[in-house]
Amino acid sequence: MSESKGIREQGKHWEEALVRKTLEKFPERQEEFLTGSDLPVDRLYLPGDTWEDHYLEAIGFPGQYPFTRGVQPTMYRGRLWTMRQYAGFGSAEESNKRYKYLLDHGQDGLSIAFDLPSQIGYDSDHPLSWGEVGKVGVAIDTLKDFEILFDGIPLDTISTSVTANATAAILLCMYICVADKQGVPQDKLKGTLQNDILKEYVARGTYIFPPAPSMRLINNIFQYCSRHMPLWNTISISGYHIREAGSTAVQEVAFTIADGIEYVKNALSVGLDVDAFAGRLSFFFNAHNDLLEEVAKFRSARRIWAQIMREKFGAKKEKSQKLRFHTQTGGSTLTAQQPDNNIIRVTIQALAAVLGGTQSLHTNSRDEALALPSEDAVRTALRTQQIIAHESGVANTIDPLAGSYYLEALTDEITREVYVYLDKIEKMGGMVKAIEKGYIQKEIQDSAYRYQKEVEAGEKVVVGVNSYKTETGLPSDLLKVDPRVQELQLKKLAEVKKNRDNSKVASVLGKLKNAAEDENANLIPVILEGVKEYAAMGEICDVLRGVFGEYKEAVVL
């Protein structure tokens, strides 16, 4: 202890003697230094006064509460993170090709990107789907498309992340059906469903129904999977999009954890036992530019979630307390100008995710700000992960940056700030209420606005955009989605509708309506039936729209 006091005194001395002299000759580059999220950054960090106690209480050991240093005892020494590139576009055939390409090049898990109509429950022939079919992901209208999507891909060995929220239940059922046809039983299926509707309302916009029925669907999924799919992650509580919408690192953690709290509360309210489902909750974060702030952010998220699960919800199993997460590097940080610079940005961000202990990682491609990734660009993105994994050495020890005075101070600060938000949201009555009030949206927007203004004023440097500008040519191999996709998809859909047993479909849809009207009914088995009969996505969602209504945006500007 006295050692630390000695260090502090010497530190003051150093400040007064050495630093002051140097500053007189060479002022620092800036008046003040801030993290990417505007937290103040000091010149130097020193060991805290009670660092040993603090270590045992708040930092701990990997695989042990509060998991600040990581959720597994051996982390990447045991098994590297999953390299999982989000992909999908155009038709199921084209996407299937891309998945095989990625798997051939060493990717070890799949992550499906669906087009907007498929995410929002519209068939490709709906008026609002016009122009959108196959653009930001693969177009899925019926089980037929899903079968093509996974043709030749063994679902007993490959784990898949299904990025669907409002339509999560339907796509999960399609996945189960395809696996079944391959002879793979449900209880062997490994993967994740995004299934996080709360963030849709504030940052992503692919909602369909209002919060209450949406939460019911999520509970249905929790219930179903806890019984039939023990290896499946039922939700990926996401901060990625919240950060992309312009929030700070603190807000990203705070709002994500607040969403998590709401989901847990909701599941408990229908009688689920916390330890029965909490082990299969997972998270999804952003990896942004400020490397050290990001590492601190991940560590603080793990610590806070563990504390909340144990203290607030009384979770007894360690599995229920562990925050496992997927990371994606921050798409909005990538620039259209000088696209090669993005490779460097992604490398730094990927490094942050690895140093932060992520369980799986998607790295963006250099042409992100221009189009969906070309084959070339996505290969480089994958190689980035592989080089970090095998050549940089950072995966050879656990939580290597721990003990950095700066890092620990920042981890503690972020933890504090997050708890302030959590308290506020709790006082408002929880996340759903906070969203209704427009509080979350306003916080995010204000951060986004502030950031943009700083960039325009040159206070935040974006290389190639507001500084170091060079005219470079554009990549010539930008991905173009085949414009015939929409036409082809419509033909396919019509074909499926012709060949299926339409009376069976009608009957199941009727069953679905009744089940939807019964608050206590679990909709998954009925949806499974419907999907098997090749009922279309839009048909199923229209039934649910009729019963649940549609969510109307609460805009706060």
């Binding site: 009030k437 109307k552 945006e553 805009v555 500007l557």
Partner: protein
Amino acid sequence: MADVVSLVQGVLGGNIRSIAKSISLVENDLPEKEELLKKIYPHAGKAVIFGITGPPGSGKSTLLDRLIKTNRGRGKKVAVAAVDPSSPFSLGAILGDRIRMQSHAADPGVYIRSMASRGHLGGVASATIDTVKILDAAGFDYIFIETIGVGQAEVEVATLSDVVLLVLIPGMGDEIQAMKAGVMEIGDIYVINKKDLDGADRLKAEIEYILNLANGNSCPLHPVKMVSAEKNEGIDELVSTMDEYVDHMKSNGALMERRKENIKKELQTLISSKVRHLLENRFSISECLECWAEDIFNGEIDPYSMIQENITSKLAEKELPS
């Protein structure tokens, strides 16, 4: 130069573009404004005008969305003038009220116009009255003036109508005290939105109590309705009440009284504005302001004497020029 004749023709024919251009013309106070309004005026007077106001968060726009739907279901054409404050700093504005009503955006029987207060207290009132006249002449059956009930000015605008709907929500606590201080009196029909929240019944009782005090009798002349715009509950009853209220006003002469009062208010505003304008023309006041202010600041003269010297005394000398 706008072609007033064809604009008016278009308005009377219900042409959306003409209506829109005419509203811009009056809002921007272009030279042809008076000519346009003179031609429009004889064709106005058929529509029923509702003012709808209430504090932010009371769900006015959602409620309005429901009211539009119900009225469309009855074959009525509905127009909305949604007034929002301009930024006092930049004088710009973000007008977002219509978001809640966008399901009606492509319905030819619905017209929604967003208006900013543009910084002047009297200005938005005139522009709103004129806009309502145009919409009236264009054949809309119901016209809603929607404002945020935060400031005196915004609330006043809502009263430029035949019937004022004051929308409140439970849990406002202190706000109700503030509202008692004068704003409450403007309501004709009180709407308690989000009726499923705690305190809704209490709020109803409070309002009825205040109204009784104001009216001095125990039979409230002003209906208090409970709705949930979100859940679409109580809307049909509200619409019936609105109809009954208007019929009642028609039969007991109250509607006529209200309209005459509003005309008087409008006249006052227009006359003040006219006089200002004439004085400006005659005395080039805005050019003189700078040096007048300088002299007053330097203590050479006081404002009253300044006006006496430069304006009032000169007016007494000759007739005002036409």
